[in-house]
């Protein structure tokens, strides 16, 4: 951990390979804890964290909450409907109030892009972006990279194909920034109507032909499709979508045999992913979920005050993982 600890995690944009791999290394040491019978460590005892979810979410919120509880942090969840936000209070006032209660970490999910950044500029707490509009979802990006690295090792030169509604996907953007940083080649594939303008300028290859897009891939990351999105005519329907962009065994037959399939969930079986793939041997979807807890433990640990202890031990090589495992004993 030679780098200065990051005060906030707003996105993967701007992070370099070293910073990303350092975080994934910390996540790996927490992953070991998750394999033990007693999965709780006292690392963040006395630290308080708020998960402020201004958009419906189950899996990300539960994943953060479990990560925090396993680190013994005090954790509270608020949602838009249950907060004073629905009483007309501005977001800035809500957060100022939370901060006045002396929380250490605010995990925020919000439907508007840029909100975590706006909050980070006005709070002393560490801010973790748990998804903002169509902008970024950095912990999902990290857990996706973690999962890929588990299977592939160094990701430099690897080929990742992201399939789906790229325009409206914060998962796609965080994957793109993270994968670019570690030197992977990225192809994005999906309908023209769901491809954001000038996406190729993000440094990705664009292909509208699914078979061609997956041919050389080491990983296919399938995005959840929301055909009902905004009631707009983004696509004729589920049938047309699944015939053109659904991942089936027939599609996997066009890939390298070791190529595997990821999905951030929740899945629309039969639309973007066929049941035979979702339940088949080529997917790692539930590993992603487990890895998500480990990655979020690492993020909460690094941003939530675990860092100073880590730095004390950082003089010795390999200190970071050892420090954590020691704490866990």
């Amino acid at each position: 951990m030679s780098e200065q600890p990051r005060k906030h995690l707003l996105g993967l944009e701007g992070m370099n390979a070293r910073e990303i791999y350092d975080m994934l290394d910390v996540a790996r040491s927490f992953h070991e804890i998750l394999e033990r019978p007693v999965k709780k460590v006292p690392t963040l005892r006395g630290r308080s964290m708020i998960n402020a979810f201004f958009e419906p979410s189950t899996r990300t919120r539960v994943s953060f909450e479990l990560a925090q509880k396993r680190l013994s942090a005090d954790t509270i969840n608020i949602s838009a409907s249950g907060s004073s936000l629905s009483k007309g209070e501005t977001l800035r006032d809500t957060v100022a109030t939370l901060e006045a209660m002396k929380v250490d970490v605010i995990v925020i999910r919000h439907p508007v892009a840029g909100v975590p950044q706006m909050l980070a500029e006005g709070t002393r707490a560490a801010v973790v972006n748990a998804g903002d509009g169509c902008h970024e979802h950095p912990t999902q990006g990290l857990l996706d990279l973690y999962t890929m690295r588990e299977r592939l090792g160094d990701l430099a030169g690897r080929r990742v194909t992201i399939v789906g509604d790229i325009a409206h996907s914060r998962v796609a953007r965080s994957n793109i920034w993270g994968l670019k940083a570690v030197g992977a080649h990225i192809t994005v594939c999906g309908p023209r109507t769901m491809m954001p303008k000038r996406v190729e300028d993000l440094g990705v290859h664009v292909d509208y032909d699914l078979r061609r897009a997956v041919r050389d891939a080491d990983v296919i990351n399938v995005l959840r499709i929301q055909l009902e999105r905004q009631g707009t005519n983004l696509f004729p329907g589920a049938r047309e979508y699944s015939r053109l962009f659904g991942i089936s065994n027939e599609i996997l037959a066009h890939t390298k045999p070791e190529c595997f399939v990821m999905h951030p969930g929740p899945m629309n079986r039969g639309i973007e992913i066929a049941a035979e793939v979702a339940d088949g041997p080529r997917q790692v979807i539930l590993q992603q979920v487990t890895n998500g807890v480990a990655v979020r433990m690492a993020v909460c640990y690094l941003l939530g005050g675990g860092v100073s202890q880590l730095e004390d031990d950082a003089r010795a090589p390999q200190a970071a993982p050892r420090a954590i495992t020691t704490i866990g004993v």
């Binding site: 501005t90 892009a113 840029g114 903002d132 169509c134 902008h135 970024e136 303008k197 300028d201």
Partner: protein
């Protein structure tokens, strides 16, 4: 007798200053004799015939120009006085060198009746800092459903008609609006936008909207609106003014309309489109959010070029104040609009004149004479019989846009913190000094 600007009597001579007067094409030393708010005589390079006892103001080394006119401001009164009112708006205007402004009708209630317009114009006369004009609404309640009474609005004294803030979505209604306005003798100022393309968008659709994950407003939404409105103006032989042009494609269309169709069209752009691009939105500052949105660098360059070549006839600020609490929201929830009166000249001067792209005389034309002629407003000329609406410019001044220097009630400027070059040193409205830069911030050139 020598006097200072701060103590102007009812009759005086401005002497020694360099006059920049687009109406006569003259740029050079001149004397201007003012009595009871009206220019009595102007002599280029010579002395006026005023008696020796008429007090003289020495403006040696200073630039004198016709007072600026902004045909596109939102003063929010009545209805939203916490953002701005006619008085604070006028103070902001004269601080920016403006001696005339046209207030947009999106007030509450809107300027869709003669009586609403009359009371707004009366407020302007009471405050008496600059000439306050009104734009009438094109449709009742600005709802885009029923034509307003243009004869009634015209009798009350409106200078133009617009539903600014919203386009008239119904094309047939827009056609009727243009026809009726033309018969009454009013120019329609079009807010041109295809709402079905821009709906849900919050910034220009391009690389940066993709990067930032913000829903986009494509250039095509403005360009389709401009194309439609120009085609309707041709169809109806009605005069039209295109408001806040921001894209290169809109300029192509306006050039065709002007040069190939030969229709009666003028266009404006705002200083922020000359200076800023969508790239600035990294950081999600809501003070950079306006409609139309900041576009690409290629668009910005095309807009600058179009002001230089005259495709864009005038600069208007689209001064749109919003309270801090309204702008201090999530990006997609904050309202569109930025203020611009007090930075307009400096931004335009920096981009257009200091950069060597066009002479000062032409910038002054686009900020005074051109809007006065198009909308038949007082001012824009420095000649005998004209109202003494003048601005003194300090071209060397460098100043920083800071919250405490702004006269507007609101602080939503996209230029906060920037160093700008060129400043309005003083503003004279109907012969009276209505604004002067504080002594401590005057540069040496102005103090002399």
């Amino acid at each position: 007798m020598r006097i200072d600007l701060d103590s102007l009597p009812r009759e005086y001579v401005l002497a020694g200053g360099t006059l920049v007067d687009p109406a006569s094409g003259y740029q050079g030393v001149a004397e201007i004799w003012v009595r009871d708010g009206v220019i009595v005589e102007v002599r280029h390079g010579a002395a006026v015939a005023a008696a020796p006892e008429v007090p003289r103001v020495d403006l040696a080394g200073q630039i004198v120009a016709p007072g600026f006119i902004d045909v596109h401001v939102h003063f929010r009164e009545p209805g939203h006085e916490y953002k701005e009112d006619v008085e604070s708006g006028c103070r902001s205007a004269v601080a920016g060198g403006f001696t005339g402004v046209i207030m947009m009708p999106n007030t509450e209630p809107p300027f869709d009746s003669g009586s609403a317009v009359e009371s707004a114009l009366k407020r302007g006369r009471q405050i008496d800092l600059c000439d306050v004009y009104c734009a009438g609404a094109l449709t009742m309640g600005r709802a885009g459903a029923k034509l307003a009474e243009y004869y009634d609005l015209g009798q009350a004294g409106v200078s133009t008609l617009t539903d600014d803030g919203s386009p008239v979505v119904d094309t047939a209604l827009m056609r009727r609006a243009l026809e009726h306005a033309a018969m009454i003798g009013l120019v329609v100022a079009a807010h041109s936008e295809d709402k079905s393309l821009s709906a849900g968008g919050h910034m220009h659709e391009g690389y940066w909207s993709t990067h930032l994950g913000v829903p986009g407003i494509p250039a095509a939404s403005e360009e389709l609106g401009v194309a439609r409105d120009l085609i309707l103006a041709r169809e109806t032989a009605a005069p039209i003014h295109i408001a806040h042009v921001s894209t290169r494609g809109s300029l192509d269309l306006i050039r065709v309309a002007k040069h190939q169709w030969g229709i009666d069209v003028t266009a404006e752009t705002a200083p922020h489109y000359l200076e800023l691009t969508d790239r600035e939105l990294v950081g999600y500052s809501t003070n950079l959010k306006m409609n139309p949105p900041l576009r690409t660098e290629a668009d910005r360059q095309a807009i600058v070029e179009a002001v230089v070549d005259g495709t864009i006839d005038m600069i208007a600020t689209d001064h749109a104040p919003h309270a801090e609490m309204e702008k201090d929201l999530e990006f997609e929830r904050a309202p569109f609009g930025v203020i611009g009166l007090e930075t307009s000249f400096a931004v335009a001067y920096g981009q257009l004149v200091a950069s060597g792209r066009m002479p000062l005389l032409e910038l002054v034309r686009r900020m005074s004479l051109a809007p006065a002629e198009r909308f038949r407003l007082a001012g824009g000329r420095v000649e005998a019989g004209a109202p003494a609406h003048l601005v003194l410019l300090d071209l060397e001044a460098r100043w920083q846009v800071r919250p405490q220097v702004l006269r507007s009630k609101s602080r939503n400027t996209p230029f906060m913190g920037r160093m700008l070059r060129g400043r309005v040193a003083a503003t004279i409205h109907r012969g009276r000094l209505v604004h002067r830069v504080e002594a401590e911030t005057r540069s040496a050139a102005t103090v002399a």
